[in-house]
């Protein structure tokens, strides 16, 4: 369970998160929507531990662990996964190697046995197949020369292999065609169940047709101003943010 209380965060002394309260119970998928500049990406960075942000107030705990007190890699070992909006390239770093190294680093931190090359490849190939992704994605260097869609799909493949407990998807659907969108949705839905929660950040209702959220929240000016069921997303699509934001002000 993810519990965020009164979270405030700055970047370069500018306040972006202005008192976020959010609870995502185990097994649920929540969507966050909101106008540009509302702080959606900031929230995902603060939760995953990006150094550029300064938390000034509040707390964020996951399964009782204080997320804000530990390093990014420690959060990863706890099961936090961020599917980046703009995944970076790692020249010369083989995708399969990278994933295996990451998985084993997490397993080591959790006191679990590491996977050898053969075991790992078996796992990775199975996941790629289940997601209808070409095997050769594993042979390429991480995100190097990948199209926008391929980068997003690589994020989903990593998620499928790492099996996180809390997946944060930061506008994973932006720039994707219908087929790619379905792959992303399949990836998330395959993990759905007890022991898995997700925070899906999106602008568009379209993704939420495929990943039906349990709750939808609207983030505006650094705070959650409205929450509702999946029908809230439809309302936003129809009426835009202005009405909702004005109502909350």
């Amino acid at each position: 369970m993810l519990e965020i209380k009164g979270l405030k965060a700055d970047i370069d002394s500018k306040t972006i998160l202005n008192g976020v309260d959010l609870v995502i119970p185990d097994g649920e998928i929540h969507a966050i929507m909101g106008p540009n500049g509302s702080g959606k990406s900031t929230l995902s960075y603060v939760l995953s531990g990006h150094e550029g942000y300064e938390v000034t107030e509040g707390s964020a705990t996951f399964d009782g662990h204080d997320l804000l007190a530990i390093e990014p890699e420690e959060r990863a070992a706890l099961g936090v996964f961020l599917a980046f909006q703009y995944p970076v390239e790692l020249p010369g770093v083989n995708n399969a190697n990278f994933l295996r190294t990451a998985l084993n680093a997490q397993r080591r931190a959790r006191g679990e046995a590491e996977l050898d090359a053969v075991q790992f490849l078996k796992l990775a190939r199975a996941q790629a197949k289940a997601l209808s992704m070409p095997d050769d994605m594993l042979k390429r260097n991480v995100n190097v020369g990948f199209s926008g869609g391929e980068k997003k799909r690589n994020e989903v493949l990593q998620m499928a292999v790492l099996r996180p407990k809390l997946a944060i998807l930061d506008e994973t659907d932006s720039g994707l065609d219908i087929d790619a969108l379905k792959i992303v949705a399949d990836g998330v839905n395959a993990l759905r169940g007890p022991g898995f929660s997700a925070l899906v950040i999106t602008h568009y209702q379209r993704l939420l047709e495929h990943i039906v959220p349990d709750r939808v929240h609207v983030l505006a000016a650094g705070r959650i101003v409205k929450s509702g069921g999946p029908e809230l997303a439809h309302a936003l699509e129809a009426g835009g943010y202005a009405a909702v934001v004005a109502e909350a002000a």
């Binding site: 990014p72 990863a76 936090v80 980046f84 295996r100 990451a102 680093a105 090359a117």
Partner: protein, 502 residues
């Protein structure tokens, strides 16, 4: 096993920080008095029992050196070297007689064990019976055999596998021994690639060199194992001047590895080596170096000055010489392993990773001289700077008038870690033949905060992330190293960069 995992494993395992080869060995030494003059040269020559022609050769070089001036064009700064304050001969005292491992001072053997260098042949050949080098039946997938020459200060202390190699006709021995056993070969080739007056440090080396490796591969022979020399500077205030000579006759092949470390000392020590390679028709020489001389402390005190002249002559048609180097040590590195491509269709290659951290300085690169037709050269240089260091790539590609259809590809990439280091590129391209094709690419990059965060978000620690990214950056070069060295090199890279991203 994927190389990356090795790096990460090594970083995890490295509990010692700092230069872990910095210990010194307490051993009785035979030390010449300080200073350089004709008497010292005669002393060195006498100690080594050299023939008259070699003494004359040394004295001629010395006379040339006296007339030369130390060059100052490199982008490196150091206080003037007082050549009279060094000992030019330092050797571990030992009993006269044949060099078998039993005769070597146990203290010395312990030193090499500590360094992880396998001098004991038995140690390498797990489960072997009988004479050294004879493999047991059904020994699959064992660590490949590597013949080793160990040079401690000025002398070679042990050379392994000589018997096995002799069966193929391969000569691998200290150069001092080659002077005794194969004088005609030494006389023919010594100074033929790097003349005594080539440059200031080559002249100095020619006058006072004490030992190094000599390799001769006969026609048509593929050397059955990798050859390696491990150089260790131990005594204080000494200069180390090795001389290595490798000759590969028609259609032969040899892969040679060179490793170097030195103890931690406050004074700077000079290492001015000369390496000459000669390759005839269809011959291949692969020369790999993993250099980890003491780099000086975090404030820049002490450390080795590594001023080296290395040159390969592709004399024969279709011959090939490849230089692969991973340079992580030395306070100052100044070297340009080069190829002179005389033979038509001959090939020269240079793959380099040079790391500088703290206050290290490196001015390194290569010279590819194309003389024959359709000669090809490839240069891949990766410079990594961190701390307050300075890293310069200096390269020359020269196409001579007769080099029809010559081709060169150069790629020099710099990676900067932190904001107080420097990376510089000084490429010289001279072409006197209009049919030549030259390509030059260069990139400069920083280790991106975003790249680091991406890795960390997936579960890697900061150190592991840097190691991963640096390895990716150096991959093209590291894959040219023989496997044994590739693993060592990756560990070295990781350890060198420990703590550099703060």
């Amino acid at each position: 096993m994927p190389a990356v995992t090795e790096t990460l494993d090594a970083v995890q395992a490295a509990t010692e920080s700092g230069y872990k080869w910095g210990f010194s060995t307490d051993i009785e030494m035979d030390l010449a008095p300080k200073g350089l003059n004709e008497d010292i040269i005669r002393l060195i020559s006498a100690r080594k029992n050299e023939p008259e022609w070699l003494l004359e050769w040394r004295l001629k070089a010395y006379a040339q050196w006296l007339k030369m001036e130390e060059p100052d064009w490199a982008m490196v700064n150091h206080p003037p070297i007082d050549y009279q304050e060094l000992h030019y001969y330092a050797a571990p005292k030992r009993k006269p007689g044949p060099k078998s491992l039993d005769e070597v001072d146990p203290e010395l053997l312990r030193t090499y064990e500590k360094l992880g260098i396998p001098l004991k042949e038995r140690a390498i050949l797990a489960g072997v019976e009988g004479a050294d080098g004879a493999p047991a039946d059904g020994v699959e997938g064992e660590r490949p055999q590597v013949a080793m020459d160990a040079v401690f200060d000025s002398v070679s202390v042990a050379t392994t596998f000589k018997a096995t190699l002799a069966k193929s006709g391969v000569i691998f021995c200290p150069i001092s021994e080659a002077v005794q056993e194969h004088p005609e070969l030494v006389r023919k080739y010594l100074g033929s690639v790097v003349p005594t007056n080539d440059n200031y440090f080559a002249a100095l080396n020619s006058a006072v060199f004490t030992d190094g490796s000599f390799v001769y591969i006969p026609k048509g022979v593929r050397c059955p194992m990798e050859l390696s020399t491990y150089f260790r500077i131990n005594a204080r205030n000494t200069g180390q001047f090795e001389r290595t000579l490798i000759i590969a006759e028609d259609s032969s092949y040899v892969s040679y590895l060179e490793g170097c470390t030195a103890p931690q000392r406050d004074e700077n020590q000079l290492h001015a080596a000369v390496v000459e390679l000669v390759a005839f028709d269809d011959a291949v020489i692969k020369y790999s170096t993993v250099q980890n001389w003491y780099p000086g402390d975090a404030e820049g005190k002490g450390g080795i000055y590594n001023f080296v002249t290395k040159r390969g002559a592709c004399r024969g048609a279709r011959s090939k010489i490849s230089w692969t180097q991973v340079e992580t040590g030395s306070a100052i590195t100044w070297k340009y392993p080069s190829c002179v491509l005389y033979g038509d269709d001959s090939v020269g290659e240079f793959y380099s990773v040079a790391v500088t951290t703290n206050h290290q300085q490196a001015d390194t690169g290569t010279k590819m001289i194309h003389i024959g037709k359709r000669t090809k050269s490839t240069i891949v240089s990766k410079g990594i700077s961190a701390g307050k260091s300075n890293n310069t790539y200096r390269g020359l590609v020269r196409i001579m008038p007769r080099a029809e259809g010559a081709r060169n590809f150069t790629q020099c990439d710099s990676l900067l870690i932190g904001d107080q280091c420097g990376a510089h590129t000084v490429p010289y391209i001279e072409s006197r033949n209009p049919t030549a094709r030259l390509e030059h690419e260069a990139t400069t990059s920083k280790i991106d905060e975003d790249q680091l965060f991406y890795c960390r978000q997936r579960g890697l620690s900061q150190e592991d992330a840097v190691g991963l990214i640096v390895n990716g950056f150096c991959k093209e070069v590291l894959k040219e190293l023989p496997m044994e060295f590739a693993v060592e090199a990756q560990k070295l890279l990781a350890v060198s960069l420990e703590g550099s991203v703060g």
